[in-house]
Amino acid sequence: MNKIMKRYVPFMKAGVQSLIIYRLNFMGFVIGGLIYCFVMFYLWRAVFESNGGGIFLGFSMTDMVVYLFLSNTTTQLIFSDVSNEIGEEIRDGSISMRLLRPVNTDLSYMFGELGTALMKLVVLLIPVILGLEIYRFYVTGTIVFNPLNFLLYLFSAVLAYIISFRVNLCFGFIAFYVKNLWGIGILKNSVIGFLSGSLIPIAFMPEGLRICLEYLPFASMSYTPVMIYMGKYGAYEVLFRIAIQIIWAILLYGLSKLIWFGAIKKLCIQGG
């Protein structure tokens, strides 16, 4: 265990450092996300008003605010850039350096991202949760914060990250075939945004679609942890949803390995 840590901690440090160096880009990302949340906030407020206020499909306006900001933050927290990174490394050939090192390829990518995720936890998640709880206290007059739900949320978010990482790994291998990684990135973000419920809560979707989406891996990526935090699930349902997350994490692990072993044989580095 100690040996493993010694081997992978430098990747984590590199992740933290790159976030610090590119902090302006990171801030742009965060502010962009917040602007989006505010647009959605006003849109939902108008929707609630048109609906005569009160409860809309089981969500109050306060719920909606918590959902919007927390699902956006969770999406950023579990965000994985490994598809881009792998794509670039395949293209410029530097992936060969990574393959030569005596480290596990997946783990080395993962630890790099773990560093940035930890930073985001401190500078993003904690302030957002604090802000939301103050807002909820201000609106409802009581403290609604539930430490157990928060811990379950964190656990579920870790699983969400593993799923997101594996899905991204699979996307990254598309770089073997297509060069327009930037277009693929837009495609991936909008598809995942919709299917994961970060754009519109899955609970609002038409019945058939909702049931489908709840069992797809995308719901496990932000919807499940956020709903757990909000206390929308009972004890059994929490266990059930987390079980689904674990199953997807294992399945996607297998799938990404399978594609990897297939792709690595084809890997052909030009000039590098």
């Binding site: 602007i35 929707v47 048109s50 754009l199």
Partner: protein
């Protein structure tokens, strides 16, 4: 002017040649933007399956505003996409030198150099929505409303372009301004919905400071209500012209502050 058009034609032809070479890339880009749009529209469909109207507008009217707002966005995306590269890396790497040593206007050269066909995704969806929503949106269709709205579209496009020129020009001082372009550009989200849903400070902000409200809501207001062309169409033309002049001033000041990279 004729020379400029000739140069522009030559550069676009070069771009189209490159496109034919990398067809899969082009398809990926266009399909990606198309799906990105479809997701945005799916969102409105789901909301309206629950409520009859939003801020006094019916479903077809909201789709009309949304659709019209995508057209200036798409046109700007089609024509001036290279400005992003100025902000992200051209200035930082010192590659801006090449625009300065050629006998054409640098800004014109930068813009003419790239013809971004990915924008077809936005344009197809925008026009598609207009055609789909128009029959049921209670439009006031007269010669004047249609003509003035068509005239206003290039001006609304100019709002996007001016904001991109301004923010990318900041790179001349800061070396890299990609994240600022991203941040300001991202506010076009506000343009998709009626400005009346926002609170007062936000409304002021998207109308007068980062005036994206004019690229969607105000642009469609005249044809939707048939009244007040001065406020809506006049506003688009006035604001975009002012913004464009300011952006050119900033750009020119930026070029004189430009220092090439060491290499």
């Amino acid at each position: 002017m004729r020379r400029a058009l000739k140069i522009y034609r030559l550069l676009v032809v070069q771009n189209l040649k490159r496109l034919m070479e990398y067809r899969a890339d082009f398809l990926t880009g266009a399909v990606s933007f198309l799906i990105d749009q479809a997701v945005g529209i799916g969102f409105i469909f789901i909301i309206f399956s629950q409520i009859p109207q939003l801020a006094g507008f019916t479903f077809p009217q909201i789709l009309f505003i949304y659709g019209l707002s995508q057209i200036p966005k798409g046109l700007d995306h089609l024509l001036t996409d290279n400005l992003w590269c100025i902000g992200y890396f051209i200035v930082r790497k010192g590659d801006f030198d090449k625009y300065l040593i050629r006998p054409i206007n640098p800004l014109f050269h930068v813009i003419a150099e790239n013809f971004q066909v990915d924008a077809i995704g936005e344009l197809v969806v925008g026009i598609g929505l207009l055609v789909y929503a128009a029959p049921n949106a209670d439009l006031h269709i007269t010669v004047w409303t249609v003509l003035l709205s068509l005239i206003a579209i290039p001006f609304a496009t100019l709002i996007y372009t001016s904001l991109k020129i301004m923010t990318s020009a900041l790179a001349f001082w800061m070396k890299s301004s990609g994240f600022i372009i991203q941040m300001v550009y991202g506010m076009n989200e506000f343009a998709k919905y009626p400005t009346t849903i926002y609170s007062f400070p936000v409304r002021i902000f998207v109308t007068y400071i980062i005036p994206f409200a004019f690229t969607g809501y105000y642009l469609s207001l005249y044809i939707l209500t048939g009244t007040d062309p001065l406020l809506s169409i006049g506003g688009v033309i006035l604001i975009s012209s002012v913004l464009f002049v300011i952006s050119i001033l900033i750009w020119n000041k930026g070029i004189s502050a430009y220092e090439s990279a060491g290499a």
